[in-house]
């Protein structure tokens, strides 16, 4: 599904190149649950952003579902966002002016899905995450864990084939974090959704099927986790 060949990312400042990523090459198949780990500044988030096409690599080739997306125009990128990629953020990033239900519905609106279908998908999501009673609340009326659930529900509503999560539990207490990770595992195992998450936590990484260890922009280890 994802094929990275020799991805490099650096910033030039007065002729001095400071590397964020170096010679990153890897393949991620459909149905994998990959955790990207490493110390701060190792380039984890940059790698995830490149995977999510939010940033462009300075050099290298990135194939997404068989298509070279290294420098994709905005329209095609938006098509991929609408149909294949769901983002989950550490800071949730819900839209403050929208209610829970509207937040979940928003990607469907951009995807131009018919009203009745939208309604049923939103209802499904609310049901699944036990938030029917909270559907008319605004994000600032929810706890962090609840907001992240809405964030995940929003990502799932568009029925993506891959979820990119940047420290999804970074702002949560451990009990809530556990709940989120269980959910990811379930989505991965039962629905076959490919998940790539950036995490600091060994515990969280254990939920996945594979761990990529980054150090100073280089993949140091590529492990399959024990079942």
């Amino acid at each position: 599904m994802i094929e990275l060949q020799n991805i490099e990312k650096y910033y030039s400042n007065k002729g001095v190149k400071s590397y964020i990523l170096r010679h990153v090459s890897t393949t991620i198949n459909e149905g994998e649950f990959v955790s990207i780990m490493g110390p701060s500044g190792a380039g984890k988030s940059t790698l995830l952003n490149i995977l999510g096409m939010l940033e462009e690599p300075t050099y290298g080739v990135y194939n997404f579902m068989g298509e070279d997306v290294t420098s994709l125009n905005e329209r095609k990128r938006i098509e991929l966002y609408r149909n294949h990629i769901g983002f989950v953020f550490q800071a949730y990033h819900l839209i403050d002016e929208m209610t829970v239900a509207e937040n979940i519905e928003a990607p469907l609106l951009y995807k131009k899905i018919a009203s009745s279908e939208r309604k049923s998908r939103v209802a499904d999501m609310l049901d699944r995450f036990n938030m029917v009673g909270k559907k008319d609340l605004f994000p600032n009326q929810l706890s962090g864990g609840q907001q992240q659930l809405v964030g995940i529900a929003r990502a799932l509503a568009a029925q993506p084939s891959i979820i990119l999560a940047d420290e999804p539990t970074g702002n949560l207490q451990s009990a809530q974090a556990l709940q989120i990770m269980e959910l990811f595992k379930k989505l991965n195992q039962e629905e076959g959704i490919t998940i790539i998450q950036v995490t600091h936590s060994e515990v969280n990484a254990q939920y996945g099927t594979r761990v990529l260890h980054l150090l100073d922009g280089v993949i140091k280890e590529d492990l399959v986790t024990e079942k």
Binding site: I78, Y81, F87, Y110, A158
Partner: protein, 444 residues
């Protein structure tokens, strides 16, 4: 989508109340000034265009020549024979009528007496100006020498009622006249305004001097209605030498000038129209556009300054599949909503300030809510302002980098954007400065 955008726009207006209020107040103030000026401009432009044949109405003007043949001056006062001569000798002329100047005449009805602005007019004046008759018949309202036509206000002032047909009025203690017509009050923007019309024959009965046909006495205004296919330029050519043929010592020529141009283009240089109040109107048009631009610039600056608060929303929307176009549309929609509120506020402001504005300038402006043009203008200004004020912030906000806006890492102090804003602010200050200087200069 549209409905949700609408809801979100409304919620974010409510959320940033202070900013919204400042925005609306600033825009409403600019719009109010703009609307007042536009009202004034349309009032001035509407002069003498209220009649159904306004485009065929002409005023007879006279170029006076100096001894060396150059044009000394252009006047609008004509001889008492001009109207008759034009109608009988020139087939292009359908009707022509004389009017005297407007003077305050003493009128008495019963015990009630007061002075009202009156003109003497030829009986066929109503063939040129189709005033709305509330009672009486325009065809013969001024044919009887002892008749009088009143505006409804004049009738009410004299008799306390509008039903005054055939009642008698004492005119200047010289003649007893019978009311033969009551017309609707005239609009304020007429060159030939009056409260009372009396017949030309009465003028001749009461005075000796106007009776004699004379080519050497300039005292009256002559108005002409030409036939619909008339070539006025060639008629004006034919009019050359007419006065001289009748009065050999005369050094003057008649010509017809469109009545609807008289108010704005009423100044003549060497016999040619050379400006007039139109210059003031042009200045005011520039001013109204300038004021509106200042308000828009203000709006743009506030909106872009507020960008940081919106950055996250934009980044998120991009990652869930929003196209740049849909984001721009959302911001322009917000701006149009804000402008709509501002327009409503400004209409209220204009309504409240009109009496004051009118008494300041001695005119009668009002918003004509039944005129589709008013709505067209209001709507036009609304859309133009909304889009103008909204498009730059929309383009600017929607173009922000999604990653950076999500990381709260946007550098707002760099590059083109700030310098563009600085440019706007400088433009704004320059215009404000020019306005203030102009005000100070005029005031002195």
């Amino acid at each position: 989508m549209f409905r949700l955008n609408f809801k979100i726009a409304f919620r974010s207006l409510m959320r940033y109340k202070a900013i919204s209020i400042i925005n609306i107040a600033g825009l409403a103030l600019g719009l109010s000034s703009c609307f007042l000026l536009l009202l004034y401009i349309s009032y001035e432009r509407g002069y003498d265009r209220q009649f159904s044949d306004s485009d065929r109405l002409y005023q007879v003007m006279i170029n006076l020549y100096d001894t060396d043949g150059s044009i000394l001056r252009t006047i609008d006062q004509t001889q008492n024979v001009v109207a008759g001569t034009l109608k009988s000798d020139f087939p292009e002329v359908e009707e022509s009528a004389r009017l005297t100047g407007s003077y305050a005449r003493l009128l008495k009805a019963g015990d009630n007496s007061l002075k009202l602005q009156s003109r003497y007019a030829d009986a066929n004046i109503f063939a040129l100006f189709d005033y709305t008759f509330l009672s009486g018949n325009p065809a013969n309202a001024l044919t009887d020498p002892n008749s009088i036509v009143l505006t409804e206000t004049a009738a009410e002032q004299l008799f306390g009622t509008k039903n005054v047909l055939n009642k008698s009025v004492k005119f200047e203690d010289q003649a007893s006249l019978k009311v033969t017509g009551v017309i609707k009050d005239l609009p304020a923007n007429l060159s030939y305004n009056f409260q009372v019309l009396t017949p030309w024959k009465l003028f001749e009965n009461l005075n000796e001097w106007p009776k004699t046909p004379a080519w050497g006495n300039h005292d009256f205004n002559t108005l002409v209605k030409v036939k619909s296919n008339a070539d006025v330029a060639s008629l004006n050519n034919k009019l050359k030498g007419l006065v001289k043929r009748n009065l050999p010592r005369a050094k003057e020529d008649l010509f017809l000038y469109p009545l609807s141009d008289l108010h704005l283009h009423g100044s003549f240089v060497n016999g040619q129209p050379g400006g007039g109040r139109i210059q003031q109107i042009k200045l005011l048009i520039g001013l109204s556009i300038g004021i509106l631009l200042i308000a828009c610039i203000n709006f743009i600056n506030l909106a872009t300054a507020n960008a940081q608060k919106r950055a996250k929303e934009i980044g998120v929307k991009k990652t869930i599949g929003a196209s740049r176009f849909s984001l721009m549309f959302q911001f322009i929609l917000e701006s149009v909503i804000l402008t709509t509120v501002s327009v409503l506020v400004s209409v209220i402001v204009v309504e409240f300030s009109l009496p004051w504005f009118n008494s300041l300038l001695g005119i009668q402006l009002s918003i004509d809510y039944f005129n589709p043009l008013t709505w067209l203008l209001l709507f036009g200004v609304l859309i133009a302002t909304g889009v103008l004020a909204g498009s730059y912030p929309a383009a600017y906000l929607s173009g922000m980098n999604a990653v950076k806006s999500l990381k709260n890492d946007l550098n707002f102090k760099q590059g083109f954007n700030l310098s563009f804003r600085q440019l706007l602010v400088i433009g704004q200050f320059v215009f404000a400065f020019v306005l203030i200087m102009a005000t100070v200069t005029i005031y002195k």
